[in-house]
Each structure stands twice: as structure tokens, then as C-alpha cells.
Symmetry: C2
Subunit: 354 residues, 2 copies
Amino acid sequence: MSKFWSPIVHQLTPYVPGEQPKISNLIKLNTNENPYGPSLKVLNAIEIETGNSLRLYSDPTSERLVNAIAQYYQLKPQQIFVGNGSDEVLAHTFQALFQHGKPLLFPDITYSFYPVYCKLYGIEAKTIPLNTHFEVDLSDYLRPNGGIIFSNPNAPTGHGVGPGEIEMLLRQNTDSVVVVDEAYIDFGGESTVALINEYPNLLVIQTFSKSRSLAGLRVGFAMGSEALIAGLIRVKDSFNSYPLDSIAISGAAAAMQDRVHFEYTRKRIITSREQLTAELETLGFDIIPSQANFLFVTHPQHDAAALAGDLRIKNIIVRYFNKPRIDQYLRITIGTDDECKILVDALRNIVNTP
Amino acid sequence: MSKFWSPIVHQLTPYVPGEQPKISNLIKLNTNENPYGPSLKVLNAIEIETGNSLRLYSDPTSERLVNAIAQYYQLKPQQIFVGNGSDEVLAHTFQALFQHGKPLLFPDITYSFYPVYCKLYGIEAKTIPLNTHFEVDLSDYLRPNGGIIFSNPNAPTGHGVGPGEIEMLLRQNTDSVVVVDEAYIDFGGESTVALINEYPNLLVIQTFSKSRSLAGLRVGFAMGSEALIAGLIRVKDSFNSYPLDSIAISGAAAAMQDRVHFEYTRKRIITSREQLTAELETLGFDIIPSQANFLFVTHPQHDAAALAGDLRIKNIIVRYFNKPRIDQYLRITIGTDDECKILVDALRNIVNTP
């Protein structure tokens, strides 16, 4: 606390990201990173960018990357906004599109950065409980609001809703912006991007941190009507002209263009997820069917915090949230098949030890 | 304009950065970039970072970079804040430290992003005119305020104030934060960093974009008391956990550690500046003595906008601001000696053509 802080600083509850331990030899299944590295084309693009030209400012419009995304999704460049990770894109979205004096609606169990942004920008939040199956039920969102945001598939549950349900919501909720946070969409969900040209209040947010294997490069993006994107650009250009460095622009553009690497790695992860689900079920875990690169699991006979602690002793980190409704669950990132095997062996050992 | 925008978005006047043209063969003297590329040690550090580990999130605390800066300036890591370019650091500073219900003071002629941040965060701005010599006179800032910010040396004028004058201000202005924006300090000014341990309300902001030749990598930093830095971290962690990518962290840390390259290039630029000043004076230009990597020049017989246009035809870009008091000035970045020669020849040709 300091008298020099703006009053709002005292009220903030900063987001706490998953641990990034500096020890090696850990099986790191706690922050939903991709177990496979980025495409070689990405590494080549970065190498080309690594030279004298770093003395020059990066392109403030990130045109090359915007064009690559537009081409991939068959949208106009004016329908694309890029930023320094989807966290920055979300921050600008909250400020640019959600300050409307009516409450912003989002699930009670979801990405825990949403309430943090609300405090930062003075937005009233109204959380809508997941149903008893831990699913987002969009019919619960038909009430007065200044905006709606949900992750699809949801985190940390992994459950996804279909574009049909989202379109039903968009048909009825036409006066405020609906943001679909698709950080994990490429692992089995169906993107809402196809609805963008029909619904001017739909914004879809994605990231390069998961399915594109580039968490360390910090690139995210939003897609929506030109008016929504123009609002985001106005805020960005009042905050930081050049949020993406030259290397991130080139690397991410190359990632978007390498469909072969993308398809190969995401399919491997989906296959591993189905195997891991089956194996954990044989150990007695209950698992929410996942469309993401993680599983949300609980065991009727074992306390989740204790399980996380026992795994940690065996050098395996998973994510445990000490929060209402989910304090008996673990979120486990899908690793390589070798990592999944080590995890299953460790859990078998733990649950079978009396 | 869109009904979906938050009300504040309609009121923003986004910053317009200097042009980043995509044509080659231009002599680009418009955005104060360093004419010399980054250190080879920076390029090596980036190369090492370019691999599979990009699948993992970057260090949210940028510890390696924070430590390198702390070591360079003999400060504690808790006195260092890093961000995605000094623009992001400034944005967080305005939100974290300047929202106090009293006006923020800054010069009428200075970095034109300051009033943009004020609009973004609803901060009342009170501009203090530069004196008739286009100098910041800090005795004009002894009045009620919610904060004070100025660039030292100032941009676009290049004039700098000494630490003695700044200390006088700090002695008398103890209830609000004083930010010294030292983007250009390494080209001949004297840093205020040495005063940080004495004045808990002093924040010094620097960048890797100028003297460290890394505008394309987007890294800036702030130094101040632990309380001020803690306030910035609270806002940053409510906005984006990982604002610096792994490559930027490693590259910037290497830049901070290579003192030889830094000293060599900044001294070359200072020498070129003195030569260019002398040559332009022989062409009849009036020049404000500069402590920066640019000159702010005017010619009694030639309209500044016309000069900028004539230079553009000759493939030379300089910065012209169509603003009160400075609309007869050009801001010219110090290039290589070859670039300076081409500029002088071009200007000689223009001013001698009847």
C-alpha cells in the first residue's frame, strides 16, 4: 500500500498465473502448454528476423500477421485484431466493449482473469453458475447485461458448447457484445468464427499459446465485425502503438501458415487425451468429457489437494484451484505420450497405496 | 462509432506513431531509431532462445532481465519494472500512479502520447508551456498536482535539464509522483537514477528502443522505490501476466550486459550529432542544443512542412509536427555518417535552390 498509488490499485486482486518453475526434470502439466514445439517454419522465420533490422520499430499494424490470420479464416484484415497474448486482447476487450453500466455476465467457474479485468476497469460482474454437470448453459444468459463472455471450450472444465447454442444466444442478445474465448477450440470444439459475418456483436478470441505451440512468443488475436475491431484498435493505439515485436509478428504468421504441423500436433494431443481419459477412468477418476488439451478430474476416494501434493513429490505438476465447487478437482494438461504414461503410473501408485 | 463501444472509446484520440514505410532505399530519420544494429551478443541470445522452449510460457516476472537492469544500475530487483516497450510502461504508470483527482502536469511540447494516456484513464491534464528557449523550466511545476511527468532530454526539442534542478523539484514536490521519462538519456544527458534511493516518489523510465538498438524487440523499464514498482506490478498482473516474450527477455538482458557495444554506438551517435549540428548551422538552420539522438531544427527562410516534403521527394523522411509553436520545426534523427551526409547534401540543394 502506498499513498502514491491511484485509488484503484488498492482494490485490485491480481491474477496469479500457473507456476513456471525454473527447475528442470519436471513433468509440467499445469499451464496447458503444448507438449510439442513450434513448427520449424516458425523457427526459420524468427531466425530471418534476428538481425540488424531489430533496431527499427516493428510494424504497428502487424500487417503480415493480420493478413495470415485473415487468410486462414477467410475474413477481411479489418476483422482481425492482434495483441501481446490473448490476455492483452482480453484486457483491451473489457475496456473497449464491456464498460456499459450493466453487469457483465460470465460463468462462475471459468478463466479466473475475467473478474480481475472487471476490477481493473470498474466493470460490474455477474457470475452465472455452471449447471450441475459443470456445463455452460447459455439459456441462463438471457437477462439484462452490458456484455457476455465465456470460454469455449470452458477452462478449467474442458466442456464445450456448440455453435448452434451460441447462435441461439446471439439471435436473442443483440444489444451487447458476446465474446467467445476460444483459447482451446482447436482441440475438438467447433469455432464460432463462421458466425462473425452474420452477427456484428460477436467477438471470437484465440491464442497462439496452445494449439500453435507458441506460449513463449505472446501472441493472441480477436475476430469480429469491423466496428468491434475498430474499437479495439482505438484502445490499443491509446495504450501501445507496437504491442508485437518484429519476431513475434513473423513467427506467429509462419505458425498460421503451417497447417501441416498444426494438424499433426493437435491430432496427436486429441488422441493422447482420449487414451489418458480411459486410463484415468480405470483408476477410478471421474472425468468431464474434454474438448481441450487438458482433463478436469476428480477421484471419489482421494482428496484433490493431497493428490496434487503427492504428484509434486514425484516431480509432476498439475493445477489445483482452491476454490468453491472445484476444490476436489485437478486440471491436468495433456503431455506427450511418455509424460502421460509417467503420470498414470504415478497416480496408479498413489491411489493404490493404502 | 458503434453502440457496442464503451463510452470512453468514442472520446479517445489515439496516438499516431511516426511512419514505418515498407519501401526500401529510404533514409529513415523520422522515428529516432538507432542507425546501428544491436549487439551480436543480443542476436546470439535470441538464437539460443529460438527453439522448442517457445512452447512454454515466458517467465511472468522477467527475472533475468530485471536482474540485468538492477545490476547495471546498482539497484535492487524490487526497484525495477519491465514492460512491452516504454509505451506500455508509461500506460501502466498513468493508471497506477496518476489517477488522483488533481491535474497531471507535463510540458505543452513533449511526447505526444501523454495526453492520449490521460484520455484513456480519465486523468485531467494541465500542460505547462516550455519557456521561450523551448526549455522545461521545473520551477513552473511547483503547483498543486496529482503527478508530474516530463521527458529528459525532452522530445522533440532535445533539450535536457540537470539532476540538480530535478532534485530541487523532488525536494518541494513530495506528495505526488514525479516521472522522468529518460528515453533519450544515454545520448548526453545525466540520468536521475542516482536519486531513486532518496526520493520515494521518483520514477525513472527508460527504453531499449534507442540507445540499445532494439526498437523492434519492444522492451522498456521503470526504476523507482519498491512501493512505486509494487503498484506497477499490481496493474500489470491485472492486465497481462506475461507482457514480455522469452526472446525479448533474453535479447534485452544481453543488450544490458554488453557495455562495449552500447558505449561504442552511443558515442558514435553523439559525435555524428555534433558534426551534423555544425553542418546544418552553416546552411542557416537554427538548432536547439541536443542531448538526444535527434536534432530539432528550423530555418528562418524555409517553411518546415515544405522542407519535409522536399526531403521526402529525395527519399529522406524526417518528422514534422503540424502543431502550435513547433510547426516551423523538423525533428531529424541522427543517422549513420553516410546518411547524415546525404541529408546535408539534400538540404544544401534545397535551401540553395531559389
